[in-house]
Symmetry: C2
Subunit: 215 residues, 2 copies
DNA sequence: CGCGGGTTTGATCCCAGTCAAGTCCCGTGG
DNA sequence: CCACGGGACTTGACTGGGATCAAACCCGCG
């Protein structure tokens, strides 16, 4: 099998994998660490489009040609595999199964963004936070990052979560405080103590997409 | 070339192409008419995830297996082509270019959903409406649905737009009224009279991130 | 003429944004 | 060793944008 990897990338917390507006010719898969994809608005607003966890594909929009519509920023030290987008055609010609997996991933991503849209559009602050914490915990658990005690690493700042849920920093903080008996997030680790109550709050039917095929 | 079409579907305004929770084994491409993809929350909330215009692929998430995460509802009489998702593998094996195009479309969709997320998260009511009207008009113009006078067909209800932008119906109405000098939407047709002013309001352009220090 | 769905408008309320301090903690340097 | 500074997190007081409630209004239609 041909090797599509075009190198491995290491980035430190706070650094960018690529910037909004860049004409990047790569896309990536995350191996270790966590980060965010952010979009900036002309007025200074900052939206975290989604979180980047190990196993995610990052920057697939690069196949659209043109400037990247968002920046990818690391929140903890990250390791990613880099691929050249112009060799994607080869992949599609020579490795239909992997191509299919790629589409599958894109569809899964779309599925998740749809849920996020519903959250931003319909849920209040408490519901948003409950939803986000559940999703994050579930996702990280699924990729085996949970410790014995059931807590998962979450290296983000409250500001990141605030910008992800479209809430102000202060209100995010206050909302996290209200959720404290159900979930705690401190020292970069998130623990869910009452999943049922959280799900109740979040109005989640918590149906996640099935396991993905390997790329 | 093999024929993947598995029929043509006609649906009337208000009817569903598929319902949330359905185990559909099809996906579609829209040929005529317009509709919405909606998600429902347990508390009765309703979010319009996006609008369906001619040329769009609908229900590609079906490749994820399992229940559909949203419903597709027609707002005007629609005509769509139906495809069987289980034959997608064939497509990937026999027609890499079309497979690539499919991924391209999925990526474009993801790109758009990302913009929507930024809108719901960061923009206020006036900015949201301005953004939505611009996007819709631009999109419909691009597929040649604009008349001589520059107006495009928009068969939705104010409720649909409200649910798309996460605003209440009444506030949507009032906001549309405030935008009246810049854009009018009546009798199912949308006309933009002052594109520049609208874009100004919507804060669209967003080329480069403002010089906020990283991290 | 009455009815129902969609649109418009006014009055009131409250969730979340903003402003402003203050605390905790860690790294740096005197 | 402590003083200092800066970044993240907390907390309280105030404000306002948008939700909610409640009526009209404006059709097309039976």
């Amino acid at each position: 099998m041909m090797n599509f990897r075009a190198g491995e990338v290491h980035i430190a917390p706070g650094e960018a994998l690529y910037h909004e507006g860049d004409e990047t010719s790569y896309f990536y898969t995350a191996r270790e660490g966590q980060g965010v994809r952010v979009k900036h608005l002309p007025n200074g607003g900052r939206q975290v489009v989604n979180f980047i966890f190990p196993g995610d594909v990052v920057g697939l929009q690069a196949i659209l040609e043109g400037a990247a519509s968002n920046s990818a920023i690391a929140a903890s030290p990250m390791v990613l595999c880099r691929f050249e987008k112009r060799r994607l055609h080869e992949l599609y010609r020579n490795s239909p199964d992997r191509a299919y997996a790629l589409t599958w991933i894109a569809a899964a991503e779309e599925h998740f963004l749809g849920e996020t849209i519903a959250t931003l559009g319909q849920r209040n602050a408490l519901q948003r936070m409950a939803w986000a914490l559940l999703k994050i915990h579930h996702r990280l658990s699924a990729i085996g990052l949970a410790r014995e005690e059931g807590d998962v690493p979450l290296p983000f700042k409250q500001r990141d979560l605030a910008d992800a849920m479209g809430l102000s920093l202060v209100h995010t903080n206050k909302t996290l405080a209200r959720l404290r008996p159900l979930a705690t997030w401190e020292n970069g680790r998130l623990r869910i103590t009452n999943k049922e109550a959280l799900a109740e709050l979040a109005l989640t039917d918590c149906a996640l997409p099935p396991d993905r095929p390997l790329l």
